[in-house]
């Protein structure tokens, strides 16, 4: 029996067989097996198009400088940050204020029992504050969104710990109703600014995070303010 040409067997991986070829394939197991093998090979090739690398062969560390040199990455600040600064400087200022206010408030929350300034404690870690070195993002290169979120979470934790340490050494803020009122006024402005930004970009996780932090900080400050009032007076509104 004459077999199909080798090139024709390979071509039948993705071409239709003629009636004569079909007749032959139905009678010749060897040729049929070869055609099946080449079709399997073709299918495997198509499937391999979906194969991805476990680790990219590019790295952000080498790509970023090239993108910067090419003008693709613009400046050290984010584009949104640049836009905020350019069009609404008060929004950028509000965001900066939020970072400071949020940190101080969180510091109060994470420094239980430390109320009076004690010079002997200045060089000692405050109660509840870890004395281990802060972990920076440089130790954990970001290669995924999950990495980034973890680093943000860790940074928040570190920031709170550092704020708590500083707050524990400062005797001037305890029970100061005026400071709490000033902070509430600032937080109200910040909240308003961030809420407006969230309305513009409702999916932005960073802005949503800021909004939640602001609300949380505001609630905590209200509680703190209430503790400065006489025992027979209750804070009804702000």
């Amino acid at each position: 029996m004459l077999h199909l040409d080798a090139d024709r067997l390979m071509a039948l991986a993705d071409e239709a067989a003629t009636p004569a070829e079909l007749d032959h394939l139905s009678a010749c197991a060897a040729c049929a097996r070869e055609v099946e093998a080449f079709r399997g090979l073709r299918a495997a090739g198509l499937r391999s198009g979906g194969v991805i690398l476990d680790a990219p062969i590019t790295s952000w560390e080498s790509l970023a400088p090239a993108l910067r040199a090419a003008g693709v990455i613009r400046g050290g600040a984010t584009a949104r940050g640049l836009l905020m600064t350019r069009s609404r400087p008060w929004m950028a200022a509000a965001a900066a204020l939020l970072l400071v206010a949020g940190g101080v408030i969180a510091g109060r929350l994470t420094a239980p029992g430390v109320r009076q300034f004690d010079p002997a404690r200045v060089d000692q870690p405050a109660a509840g504050v870890q004395s281990t070195a802060l972990v920076t993002s440089a130790d954990s290169p970001i290669v995924s969104v999950d990495d980034a979120l973890q680093i943000m979470e860790r940074a928040e934790h570190d920031y709170r710990a550092a704020s708590a340490y500083i707050a524990a050494q400062d005797p001037n803020t305890r029970g100061d109703a005026d400071r709490y009122r000033a902070r509430l006024a600032a937080l109200d402005k910040v909240q308003s600014a961030v809420r407006e930004a969230v309305q513009e970009a409702p999916d932005d996780p960073m802005l949503n995070q800021y909004l939640l932090s602001t609300r949380s900080a505001r609630a905590v400050t209200l509680q703190q303010l209430s503790t400065t009032l006489p025992s027979n007076v209750r804070l009804a509104s702000w």
Binding site: A6, M10, F38, G45, R47, R74, T78, R80, V143
Partner: protein, 195 residues
């Protein structure tokens, strides 16, 4: 082609505006696929790494022209293929496609192949002659026609087909243990006969 979540319009807009975080997010999400495309077409890993970096710069430079008519991944994939072929042409490797294949000694190939049983088609493809590998990747993986390949590589459609068949013949030999095995072969599922 891309099972992963598409980047949202805000991320794209931020990336276009030069936001490093947004750019990095896009790279992080798509690099495993885009870099794989480059690696498949290029001849070796070092060269592929260089080309892949150029590819990413090109993708991000072209980002303002991305109109969302196709998926971002598909759009970036096309840039990756074109840019890789351009780069390969520049290093004058594709010009040697036919010569490279013709110079291959069948007996030497067989000797090498005898001791090699590919566990995957990617591993087997890595053993193809350079030009044949590029043609095979463009045709059997990327789905280009011989006419497209001929235009891209500056060869004839007939030469493209010839190189593809040589690539398939070698892959057939390298993967014979999988393709001829009564167990499920590459690309196949055995279906139980109906009762």
């Amino acid at each position: 082609m891309f099972g992963r979540m598409e980047p949202d319009a805000i991320t794209i807009r931020r990336a276009i505006n030069g936001d490093e975080r947004a750019l990095r997010q896009l790279w992080s999400q798509y690099a495993p696929h885009i870099d794989a495309v480059v690696l498949r077409l290029a001849e070796d890993r070092d060269l592929a790494a260089d080309i892949a970096q150029e590819v990413w710069i090109q993708i991000f430079k072209a980002l303002p022209s991305f109109r969302g008519e196709s998926q971002f991944g598909t759009w970036a994939h096309r840039i990756a293929v074109n840019r890789t072929l351009n780069a390969l042409r520049k290093v004058r490797r594709l010009g040697k496609v036919e010569v490279t294949i013709e110079e291959e000694s069948a007996s030497v190939e067989d000797d090498h192949d005898r001791g090699f049983l590919a566990e995957s088609i990617e591993a087997a493809a890595a053993r193809l002659p350079k030009g044949a590998r590029t043609v095979w990747a463009l045709h059997d993986v990327e789905g280009y026609t011989h006419e497209d390949i001929a235009e891209q590589l500056g060869i004839t459609a007939g030469a493209s087909k010839s190189q593809l068949f040589k690539a398939r013949a070698k892959l057939r030999r390298l993967l014979a243990h999988l393709l001829d095995d009564p167990k499920p072969a590459v690309g196949y599922r055995h279906v139980a006969p109906g009762r």
